[in-house]
């Protein structure tokens, strides 16, 4: 490759990577900001903390809405005592003269003021020397609000139950799927019997059924069994083998030499023992792949819990996160929503970095051989 085309390749790859990473970065940065720094324009990239000396003590001031009049003294919200802040305006935004960072200040609405120019009257009210903080006295620095995470967990109300439910579903689904699919795949690959090919054809055919077709009858089935509103409909099925995973595992099982089973059979080993003690250990890589994707499927599932879970206390994390968004009345508290999203995504990312190679193998396996 010529240097020039190599350069182009890197540029495109880097630009693409930046776009793919950006949503993650923006999520985490938002999760670490105070709410007011997400409600104004333009956003600063990094969360900041603003402090000023008010009555001899350093106190945090909370900038809020945008102010454009450069000559005014503004009452900063969040300050325990009125603190006036002069604003210098740069193209519509208010900027901190010292750091160049945007300072978004708001007006305490509780103080009597006219609708048109609330701050003018406030500045008159607050213009005693003590309460005025020159802008040069405001210090600001990058500061991450880690306390947003516990707050987000709190505002999700039943977070620990959601987490427990989700983990329980993940474990049950992984155990059920891996065990049953491996057993069935063994029957379809390492045993010769009449009717095998016909049944396997049926199994492949079931993979073509779109979920919406079975959605309604399954719901009415689980409803008549009294399972709607419980977690059961979300894991019971996994113990009855998943066609796609059977297909995958069968491909893998077939690569193991037949002689191995024959030798064991001659030694008088029963079929279940051959499966359990000889074939399964040899197939751990494939089983891990199936387990990983089943875990992710259960962790990420939204439609299933949406259909079957009715009580807010029984939700999974996915549903809880959705409910958190919907329950916001009025302005969304983006930092908390992003903090909760981060918590839901984090285990997936951790899992990916632990088992990165398995993922790539698994995808290649499903894509090429599937």
């Amino acid at each position: 490759m010529s240097t020039r085309s190599k350069f182009v390749v890197y540029i495109v790859l880097l630009a693409g990577a930046a776009m793919f990473v950006m949503p993650f970065a923006w999520m985490v940065l938002t999760a670490l900001k105070p709410i007011d720094q997400t409600l104004s324009q333009p956003h600063a990239w990094l969360p900041r903390r603003f402090e000023a000396a008010i009555g001899g003590r350093r106190e945090e001031i909370r900038p809020g809405a945008l102010v454009t009049d450069p000559s005014l003294w503004i009452l900063a919200s969040g300050a325990k005592r009125p603190a006036a802040v002069p604003i210098s305006s740069v193209w519509g935004g208010a900027w901190h003269p010292a750091t160049g960072a945007p300072v978004e200040v708001s007006v305490l609405k509780t103080v009597p003021a006219s609708e048109a120019h609330p701050w003018r009257e406030i500045s008159d009210l607050a213009a005693t020397r003590d309460d005025v903080v020159p802008v040069t006295e405001i210090r600001s620095w990058v500061s991450f609000r880690w306390e947003n995470f516990p707050r987000a967990v709190q505002s999700m109300r039943h977070f620990s139950r959601y987490l427990a439910n989700t983990l329980l579903l993940c474990i049950l689904n992984v155990v059920g799927t891996v065990l049953s699919s491996a057993m069935v795949a063994y029957g379809f690959s390492r045993l010769e019997w009449r009717g095998r090919e016909v049944l396997f054809g049926l199994l492949v055919a079931t993979m073509m059924i779109p979920f919406p077709v079975v959605m309604v009858p399954l719901y009415s089935l689980f409803r008549s069994l009294g399972m709607v509103g419980t977690l059961k409909p979300l894991w019971v099925g996994s113990f009855f083998a998943n066609a796609f995973n059977v297909f995958l595992l069968r491909q893998f099982f077939r690569t193991i030499p037949k002689d191995l089973s024959e030798a064991a059979r001659i030694d008088g080993c029963g079929e279940f023992r051959i499966f359990w003690q000889i074939i399964l250990p040899l197939c751990t890589p494939a089983l891990v792949v199936v387990g990983l994707f089943t875990f992710l499927g259960a962790w990420n599932d939204y439609l299933g819990p949406l259909i079957y879970l009715t009580d807010e206390k029984d939700f999974t994390l996915a549903l809880g996160l959705d409910a958190m968004k919907s329950s916001e009345s009025g302005a969304t508290e983006w930092p908390y929503l992003m903090a909760a999203s981060t918590l839901v995504i984090l285990p997936v990312i951790a899992l990916f970095f632990v088992a990165q190679r398995k993922f790539v193998e698994g995808i290649a396996m499903t894509g090429i051989k599937g």
């Binding site: 190599k6 324009q41 057993m183 379809f188 009717g195 309604v216 009855f240 083998a241 990420n300 939204y302």
Partner: protein, 295 residues
């Protein structure tokens, strides 16, 4: 059957018995029941009442149904080519001898693992009309009136296409695996013949991985027609002016919000037909373009 054969059959059946039960309960019964329900008036609470073809007739005259078909097709015409081509380009670039290949691959792949709900929340924030990162960026580079991505019916589908593009890493990895399987001998032969990089791509690489492109297309069509989660979460169902009322969302609404389970079942079968028609169409078209090695 000899006794030995019978024994072997029994052992075989014993091993596949979990699937057999699962097949009867979770595939066979629901499929049959779904056919039956589709000819019934059924609200789950009371017994289904046979109404013949009424559900299917209703569908023909239901304007919302046709809107959901249109929405789904239009969305897929945007999202599918965008995703397939972007993934292919990224995979082709990653297949070059570049440094930090593993890092790039991880970065492109990770978003496809993100839970749909969490991804939807992040994109709701980025695409937010006034405060969102995207519009702030657009304003910063001079667009004074950027689109209201989630509110303007003209922009909701492109927004969701963008969200689905973020998850194309799965496809990138599949392409990449296929590209690594292209026989080196073919590449070398074309280099000796003096083919340019572009001609090598068109005449060697792409034909060699055409079965995988076809596979991704099929998976894309089947999944795309059932698109549900991100639209449902981000737009709270149908979206402004029902602009993202997709087929699967309308099925869900009929089944679980309006309790028209019979109508929902009939819609599900029409979806089956639609998938069948489109995959057949794709396989017809693909015959001209897909080359299987050894043919």
């Amino acid at each position: 059957m000899t006794p030995g054969e019978r024994r072997r059959s029994l052992v075989g059946l014993a091993f596949v018995s979990p699937w057999l039960v699962g097949f009867l309960v979770f595939a066979c019964y629901p499929v049959c029941a779904s056919v039956y329900f589709s000819f019934c008036d059924y609200d789950v609470l009371s017994r289904p009442v046979w109404v013949g073809l009424l559900n299917y007739q209703d569908m023909l005259s239901d304007g919302v149904f046709w809107q959901s078909v249109r929405n789904t097709l239009v969305f897929n015409l945007m999202a599918l080519p965008l995703g397939l081509v972007s993934a292919l380009v990224l995979a082709l670039l990653l297949n070059q001898p570049v440094r930090m290949k593993g890092t790039f691959r991880a970065i492109y792949y990770l978003p496809s693992l993100v839970p749909a709900v969490a991804g939807a929340m992040v994109w709701l924030w980025i695409l937010n009309g006034r405060l969102g990162l995207l519009n702030q960026g657009l304003e910063a580079i001079g667009f004074s009136n950027p689109p209201q991505w989630l509110v303007d019916p003209a922009w909701t589908k492109p927004s969701l296409a963008l969200v689905s593009l973020w998850g194309c890493g799965n496809t990138v990895v599949i392409y990449l695996a296929a590209l690594q399987g292209v026989p080196q001998s073919l590449i070398e032969a074309s280099m000796i013949d003096g083919a340019s990089a572009w001609r090598r791509l068109i005449h060697v690489t792409l034909p060699a991985i055409s079965p995988v492109i076809y596979f991704n297309l099929l998976i894309g069509i089947i999944g795309g027609l059932q698109v549900f989660t991100s639209a449902f979460i981000m737009m709270g169902g149908a979206g402004p002016e029902r602009s993202v009322l997709f087929y699967a969302i309308y099925i869900y609404q009929n089944a679980f919000e309006y309790r028209h389970m019979g109508y929902a079942s009939a819609m599900a079968w029409m979806l089956c037909m639609l998938i069948l028609v489109l995959t057949l169409l794709a396989s017809r078209v693909s015959r001209r373009f897909v080359h299987y090695q050894g043919d």
